[in-house]
Symmetry: C2
Subunit: 293 residues, 2 copies
């Protein structure tokens, strides 16, 4: 990691003060990476909440954020981020700056990386996906320590300026994240499997239960810890998840297809009273123990 | 609750010293409901572990457990329990006892309740389902406080002797469980929705990921908290879940069918780039917030 990159505190401008942007704001300031944290938030209620909670030092305009910050963090849903990123690089170019860096935190990487692939300021962009979150959103969901111990993916990092990359590695090191390096397309395949499909299965589970169980009192009574943890992600916001599912459409469809096949295998085995078949499926599934603590 | 029922400590015999039986043993003894806890465990390794950990005062034979205990708790997988329960009532009858009680803790209730419906000793049986658990099993998984604050279902409680019922209400009160009363058939419908389907979806999720993701290192790296909580139940044991899925076959199949329809709705909306459709599905699913904290 470049010595110079870490020798001075940075002004960090965060666009989007939700769970991810807000949580970054807290820890980058507290842990001394940022000298100042500026925030941009289009929703006025969220903006004033973020200021009141103390997530940021100041709420500024989008334009001021880009001109005042050393590092701009785009922490908005991926649909908006894909439009915003080229504009930010345009502005860097117009300002004639060499040292500014922009990063995004989106959960899909192929489209956004492709959107600026030929931009002359491409080296100033570091594509990242900090793999952390909860089912809650908005500035009220922000919390210290959200990223601690989790993985952060750097996508197509060879397209970034090495000095910019080192600075951002330092940023995520401050957040106590484990770095992983990956091609953007591979990233999207992997996250379809270990993140996106989990959300779809939770949404479908919630829909199933809500659809059939008219007596809500009973759901509440009978819901054990197992159900709660399985359905937890179904609280996740449409604003965030619609663009993810659309942008990662091919991969997500592929995983849904496989998933439905597995459900059909269970259905068939149960239908046929095939106890050995059910046992085989469960014991295969149990191998997940080796991977997930 | 009958005063007499709670006026004296009971000898409790627990058949099956796994997560449920073992956790009951701990708290019934510690909290003073049981004067002595006897244990029956067919697996010799589990039996000696249960003794070493101190879950029970003594490991006894099945026969001794039934003759020595005031309350017999059948905490074995439901397939075995359905065979064991009539035998225990037979033995109560042969002993000419009037005061003994047997309960089960199984996750499906219709079959087991039906199996002793016409037994002359039926009133000595209280059918219960303490809705608590983790994805772990065996005596090592037993823990104090497992049941605290959870719901306990009493199925077809009108078929039990009122005094026996009051005693068992006292037992679950000691475990800090909220009682709920339900017809056994309704119980099985409800648990298919809020417990059994969660397990099937987790198993299918684990199978999907394990099937496609050859590079296990990447699953581990990318697995966020969301994936872990959604897939957690996939660690659950086949010994417990094969009989549950088979015994609750009709209800589980019905729920799986609805669930696959919901997954297909997602697939179709994503396939057709139908952002409004995806948003509708997610926002409907979000209503689960009102029910599950």
């Amino acid at each position: 990691m470049s010595q110079k990159a870490n020798s001075e505190k940075k002004i960090v401008g965060i666009i989007g003060l939700g769970l991810i942007g807000g949580s970054m704001a807290i820890d980058l300031k507290r842990r001394g990476f940022a000298s100042r944290v500026l925030g941009v938030e289009s929703d006025p209620v969220h903006a004033s909440a973020a200021k009141e909670i103390g997530l940021v030092d100041e709420i500024v305009s989008y334009e001021d954020c880009i001109s005042l910050s050393d590092i701009v963090v785009v922490a908005v849903p991926v649909g908006a981020a894909v439009k915003m990123l080229p504009d930010i690089l345009d502005r860097f170019q117009a300002q004639g700056t060499q040292d500014k860096i922009v990063i995004d935190t989106c959960s899909t990487k192929a489209h956004i990386v492709r959107s600026v692939h030929y931009h002359p300021m491409r080296p100033a962009y570091v594509a990242t996906h900090p793999m952390a979150g909860t089912e809650y959103s908005g500035p009220w969901a922000a919390m210290p320590g959200l990223f601690d111990g989790r993985a952060c993916i750097f996508a197509n990092s060879e397209e970034s300026d090495p000095k910019a990359l080192a600075t951002i590695e330092g940023l995520y090191d401050t957040l106590n994240m484990r770095p992983a390096y990956m091609n953007a397309d591979n990233h999207d395949v992997h996250t379809a499997y270990v993140s996106h499909i989990s959300h779809v299965t939770s949404f479908a589970l919630a829909l199933t239960v809500l659809d059939k169980e008219k007596d809500e009192k009973h759901i509440f009574d009978l819901a054990s810890g197992g159900f709660s943890s399985t359905v937890r992600l179904a609280k996740s916001s449409a604003d965030m998840w619609v663009p993810i599912l659309v942008q990662n459409r091919e991969n997500v469809l592929h995983v849904i297809e496989t998933y439905i096949e597995k459900m059909e295998a269970f259905r068939k085995a149960i239908e046929e009273f095939d106890e050995e078949g059910i046992r085989d499926l469960i014991e295969q599934a149990n191998r997940i123990k080796k991977i997930i603590r």
